[in-house]
Amino acid sequence: MTEVFPLVIDFLSRSLMLIGALSVLIGGIGVLRMPDIYSRIHAASLTDTMGTIALFSGLMLEAGFALATFKLFAIMVFLLLTGPTATYALANAVLESGSVPAAAKLSDGDDFKGETK
């Protein structure tokens, strides 16, 4: 039992960090590939939430029960509070500046060319 436990922890933390790294990668690809600014913001927000949670959980498992774990937890909470708020503020600012989401255009039957100005 005592010999298997570190292995399980290692496996869990590495998997979590891999998931986190993949989320960040997908977020990055999404920012480059998505059609309009709202979907790009949505892709970028994946880094703030999924990426943060998975990466930091993995790091916390790796650090064990130590001061570093608490610091990592504090940073994670801070990022989880600020990231989505920044995403909201950005999307709100874009909406107030008059940019129409591509999806809304599509459903209105307007011409949708996959891009907005």
Binding site: F78, L81, T82, T85, Y88, A89, N92
Partner: protein, 333 residues
Amino acid sequence: MTIVFALFLLSLLVITALAIVQTRNLFVAVMLLSIFSLLMAANFFVLDAADVALTEAAVGAGVTTVIFLSALTLISGTEKKAPQAGRGVALIVVTITTLLIIYATFDKPRLGDPEAPVHQHVAPFYIENTYELMGFPNVVTAVLASFRGYDTLGEVFVVFAAAIGVLFILDARTGTGPAYGMPEARGLKHHLIPKAVGGLLVPFVLLFGLYVQFHGEYGPGGGFQAGAIVATAIILYAILEGEKAALRAVPRSVLMALVVGGALLYGLVGVVCMLMGGDFLDYSVLLPDPVVGRQVGIIIIEAGVGMAVCGSLLSIFHAFASRRPSRIDHESV
């Protein structure tokens, strides 16, 4: 691995710098400058300069970005075309300088080389004597506040002079500038989510600022960083609740008192040292035990530095924010 990361960060720095030069949109330029500072902070951290990294992140990426943005609301959002004349001369000067700098790097010692001249001069003395003389481990704080206290005193006076200069130029004598009553002066009150989350964060940012201020002898940090972090917290409050609310929380008179008081406090510690029979800024005479005396002196002058930096950054922010923004080319921003 570290060297790969450092090279990656340095390449990003070059790309960002080129993008800053290229763009004509000043808003984009400000954002890129902020990214540049953040990359620079990461670079400093890779080089194990945690104190400098903290300063760069707090001042460069944080406060200056806000001050640049508030300055941008007063002017047009795009850069004018530079005159074409004299570009050839500029190109020649830049090329020669670049070649000279590249040539100079051939003589540069390798990164972290213990035989390098910079590690042979006074650095061994600082490293060997910090713990013995001051009783705390952070050599950077010891150098900044005690070994080279005159330099830091000079820096505080530079910060002081900068704040006074900006206030003179922007003419922020009145507490009720023309911007009041405009929608911008109300802050983000109608945006519930940023207001709630930001309001939640302000006390923690302030607490972290105090931690950085008073833990500077043991961890990275000190007056400069703490002053900038506290200033960020109050600027965040100003963005959320409007400038008027921030001025109600920390009035201009308090800001002026912080700027003047910080510089005065630093200088007075030096004078008190002289009166007690030591040299100017020789803290060891402050208390019977010279080690404790130095610690007390450093804590007091760090407080002075923090006050001066915080007060200056906030006065500069308010000097920009209390003016009426121009509406001329809002579209291009």
